[in-house]
């Protein structure tokens, strides 16, 4: 389940958003800006396998391990929702 905002470190979340948008632009070959309110599947065309590739690259860029077993993909629809989850459910490698 997505963690409440109150438990998320703002600076960590900002780093996650930055890494996600950088990786996403390359994965979906998009020139235009990617914003937090964008729906990853419907607006950016992120499939479940591409979503895992996104998680792996974010992990490697930030040196973190994401607690994927706690993810409920159906509740993490936008870039911002996934960033919040990652910031709240990851730890350093």
């Amino acid at each position: 389940m997505t963690a409440p905002d109150a438990q998320v470190d703002i600076a960590s979340r900002d780093r996650v958003v930055q890494a996600m948008t950088t990786v996403l632009k390359r994965l979906v070959e998009r020139q235009e800006p990617i914003t937090e309110d964008m729906h990853m599947a419907d607006e950016l065309g992120v499939s479940s396998s591409l979503g895992l590739e996104l998680l792996l690259e974010v992990e490697e860029q930030l040196g973190i391990q994401i607690d994927v077993e706690r993810m409920r993909p159906d509740e993490l629809l936008t870039v911002g929702q996934l960033a919040t989850f990652i910031a709240a459910n990851s730890r350093p490698w």
Partner: protein, 309 residues
């Protein structure tokens, strides 16, 4: 009530690290890292020296309970994922039946439910035995096939297939491992002939599997918490982790340790995981356990079977 009287599994000793499969399967570096990090794959089993009938025979020869009982075996059902695995007129099933002294049995193969065909074979064996006038009649269910092409070895972004085989002696009224329910949902709408449905299939995969699991548990007269152990198909780890989150079922009660050890062994996963559960003493007399699998090929089949040990 259909019962599993004995189960034997053959898994080759030869294992290949997934990194070594990158070149032959045309996998990129990131695809290999994804398989390792999220899908939980480590190595995949192959037996370059055994033909299809050799794999089946290796499993059947480990079935000590079959010896001396060959005359009671009326049916031999091969559950297989791939529709065509040898050139005409070679027939590995008939070959192995002759080698095992089972030439008298009615032998046939089911592939219609792809990797779920192993459970289908168990169900069919039970139905045939239930309709047989001989109460002592037995059926032999075999699984096992070669991962012989790139298509057979790789489910892109999802899993890597290996080789193994199983032999399972089924009776109509056996005392152990009795089947309490079987639910399967055949979903023809996912057939690639009707267009690219991959994204939709991926989205519906976990909810559809959860639905047949819940139905199988209910049909067995149980609640999900009554299931001591789930014997999964070895598609990958992350799918089962997320399915457990979706179902509020503890992932520690899903036997996932063979995913990194074996890879996905087509229809054999359920039986290999059963043997592992027995060897580790994870099932006590009276325990309820559930076997679940998904077959994806021409359409998709979601299956779940509940047993009492």
């Amino acid at each position: 009530m259909t019962a599993l009287d004995a189960v034997s599994v053959y898994t080759p000793a030869f294992r290949v690290p997934i990194e070594d499969l990158a070149d032959p399967l045309g996998l990129t570096d990131i695809q290999v890292r994804l398989f390792r990090r999220f899908h939980g794959l480590d190595q995949v089993r192959f037996d370059p020296d055994r033909s299809p009938d050799g794999l089946l025979r290796a499993a059947a020869e480990g079935l000590a309970e079959l010896r001396g009982q060959e005359h009671r075996v009326r049916y031999v059902v091969h559950g297989r994922a791939m529709p065509v695995v040898v050139p005409y007129p070679v027939n590995p099933l008939h070959d192995v039946c002759r080698q095992l002294g089972l030439g008298h049995a009615l032998a046939f193969t089911v592939t219609q439910q792809s990797c779920a065909s192993g459970l289908l074979a168990v169900d069919l064996a039970g139905r045939l035995l239930a309709g047989d006038p001989d109460e002592d009649a037995l059926a032999l269910v075999l699984t096992g096939e070669k991962a012989f092409t790139r298509h057979a070895r790789l489910l892109p972004g999802t899993s890597l297939f290996g080789e193994g085989a199983s032999a399972c002696l089924v009776s109509a009224n056996g005392p152990r491992d009795r089947m309490l329910s079987f639910v399967c949902a055949q979903r023809g709408e996912f057939d690639g002939e009707f267009g690219d449905r991959e994204d939709d299939f991926q989205r519906q995969y976990r909810p559809s599997l959860a639905e047949v699991i819940n139905r199988a548990v209910a049909d067995a007269g149980l609640a999900l918490d009554d299931i001591r152990l789930v014997l999964p198909h070895n598609v990958n780890v992350v799918t089962w982790q997320r399915l457990c989150t979706l179902m509020d079922f503890p992932v520690r009660r899903v036997l996932l340790s063979n995913v990194p050890e074996n890879g996905h062994l087509f229809c054999t996963d359920a039986f290999a995981n059963y043997r592992t559960a027995r060897e580790r003493d994870l099932l006590r007399e009276g325990d309820h356990y559930l076997v679940a699998t998904v077959g994806a090929g021409a359409g998709a089949t979601f299956s779940a079977m509940v047993f009492q040990h």
